[in-house]
Symmetry: C2
Subunit: 393 residues, 2 copies
């Protein structure tokens, strides 16, 4: 139950204050769980007010008694209703913001209208600024990511012993998930945005891996009820089925995303070959992804290699393919940067991302690889380390 | 993977159309996963337009190929971008709505502004109307709830064999969760609203059960990382610890919520007594909760009984207590009705709710009961059936 160092948290708040000043915001009022964890080390039912200048204010409805004020880079005060915020600011000599940043990418309209009454100035979106700050990880954060990666490497190492002929996808998933949970998986996967319904990942064997996803992902699985048509189904695993295990692991708030392919007995030669192409695409991206390169360039490199191997139409989906090959990851699953068609933003050292070249074969399944990496000066540095090859059991 | 009957889905859409007419809305545009499941039987990346009069339109970005149009009470069409919606309406002779309902309780501001440009008329909130419709379950829905309840009864029946001295809370939780997953738990728990970070429930032993929750719940658990201070901790379970197992089960989209208390060897007499009071409160509510009774009356009845037993200050929290004793449940965990202080809405037959009288003892733990019920003409009819008594192992 270790808490982030206060200096680390304070530095994050200071960097955000610089951004607020440069963007003409007088302050920001943050509510979202992941953002509170980023700036305060924990989440509660709370508001964090960060003035462009001055000390931040962590206003907690519940549970104030669960927050140690000496660990937080803000004054910690109780708050019953957001309507009390102007009074709390005035008591501290903080002016009411004329331009207030809020997380308008996630804040619902009905709630927003309540804040509009409380803050008569202009309310603008500050979510992109927060996401950009959060994209570049500190050494401390990379240490936490390594903990989550080690946890998941250990879980994946146990999958071969769990796999046997005739086991149902769902039962295998239950075993993998139980191993992850015992190893300290915190359960919750944070995905930023509206309607982001997600559960841990996918374990997809044979034809389940060929089912198109309903969200922007190369694969999503059939699920086993139309009420949640995502993830693991109930296919009985047979020899020769590619068993794609794509899970998000999180021990301490920081997520890693990884995918491996297992098979009973054998895997058909063309699928094995496609898997090798995916690994070679990954390795090319590892070398090419340096500070200054854009996410768009990396996507095109990956697509060109897939096409060179004659696999373009299977790359990142089949039919309705997605146009990305990697995504930032950290406190949330869908962070910046994105390695996608047309992305002009340049990579920076310290960014963390999952790279996931995959090939989808309708009715047969999916192969490919996914690891989580840090952008270093000489390319990507790997966090998840379980071997990339198909594991034949 | 059974799909709801078309007549069932069509009746839901028709009831919603009646509500739209009565509220002066010309149509509603729905995006949220649970609402799409309710009206269309499944969720995709999609928009459902329900005109007050005429045939609904299910516009799917992905994956249209995963939806069988003969199963859905709407015309199914592809949609790349929401800006195409006016054209799709015009093609079908549907007028652009002057007053359009949307789910403004969950729709984020940035997305809303995009829809404001597409729909120049007035956009109003229709979420309460949908939640009111969804609160009263059909016989078909109650059948699905019974499936989820039977699944969770089976999981709880296996807990005694899993409990042993010294087992860590987290390891026990992993076993319970794996059993639930194998039994067909679909993984995702839907909780309506912004920032509703939740994972399956809580398994809280001894002092973990006494930790105040950061959300509006009698107990929430410590978690084991400040990044997600919720749920199971790592307490080693000792004889005499109340082991409160509070899980949400969902096999087919429909959730049940249930809580039981287990203990190794014994439970201190005052905690056993408090548990019996909780069960007697539940049983009083079962008899009292009939159509026409309000949620507020039921809460006051429960509080009065707790106070009569000298346990008011432990009821539904300690210190920062919550003022409810039950909540609607179905496709989402926080449905209507709410059995809470001041609630004036009257129960209706067919409403489904979790009733959860609990007592919290700081540093010692929590006892109490939770079951999921349907409101019947003569009181509550029970869905979850595992025995209510403390299980001593």
């Amino acid at each position: 139950m270790s808490y982030p160092p206060l200096a680390e948290l304070a530095a994050r708040v200071e960097r955000f204050q610089e951004v607020l000043k440069s963007r003409g915001m007088d302050g920001a009022l943050l509510l979202q769980g992941a953002d509170l964890v980023y700036f305060c080390g924990t989440t509660q039912s709370a508001h964090l007010y960060v003035p462009a200048r001055g000390r931040a204010l962590f206003m907690i409805r519940r549970s104030k008694e669960r927050v140690d004020p000496t660990l937080v880079p803000a004054e910690v005060v109780p708050l019953r209703r957001p309507e009390e915020i102007p009074g709390l600011l005035a008591d501290r000599g903080l002016a009411m913001p004329e331009v207030l940043g809020m997380e308008l990418d996630v804040l619902p309209v009905n709630l927003f209208r309540r804040y509009e009454k409380i803050f008569p100035g202009q309310i603008v979106d500050c979510s992109l600024q927060i996401r950009e700050l959060r994209a570049v990880k500190s050494a401390y954060e990379i240490g936490l990511l390594k903990e989550s990666a080690a946890m998941m490497d250990g879980v994946f190492a146990r999958i071969p012993e769990m796999l046997r002929e005739g086991i149902c996808e769902l039962e295998l998933a239950a075993r993998v998930e139980a191993a992850a949970r015992c190893a300290g998986h915190m359960g919750l996967i944070r995905v930023r945005g509206f309607n982001q319904e997600f559960f841990w990942g996918c374990l997809l064997a044979g034809p389940s891996g060929g089912v198109p996803s309903y969200f922007d992902s190369p694969l999503g699985g059939p699920g086993f009820t139309p009420a949640f048509p995502f993830g693991v189904g109930k296919h009985s695993i047979a020899p020769g089925d590619p068993v794609m295990v794509d899970y998000v692991g999180v021990a301490n708030g920081y997520q890693v995303d990884m995918t491996r392919v297992f098979a009973l007995g054998y895997l058909p030669g063309d699928l094995l070959k496609a898997h090798e192409v995916a690994v070679s695409i990954q390795n090319a991206l590892v070398a090419a992804a340096r500070p200054g390169v854009t996410g768009g360039e990396l996507y095109e490199l990956a697509l060109t290699m897939a096409a060179g191997a004659g696999l373009a139409e299977h790359f990142m989906g089949y039919g309705d393919r997605v146009r990305f090959v990697g995504h930032g990851i950290g406190l949330e699953l869908n962070e910046l940067p994105v390695l996608a068609r047309g992305v002009k933003e340049k990579l920076q050292a310290g960014m963390v991302m999952a790279v996931e070249p995959k090939f989808i074969f309708p009715d047969r399944g999916a192969v490919g690889i996914e690891n989580t990496f840090v952008v270093g000066e000489r390319g990507l540095e790997r966090l998840t380390s379980y071997p990339d090859e198909v594991v034949i059991v």
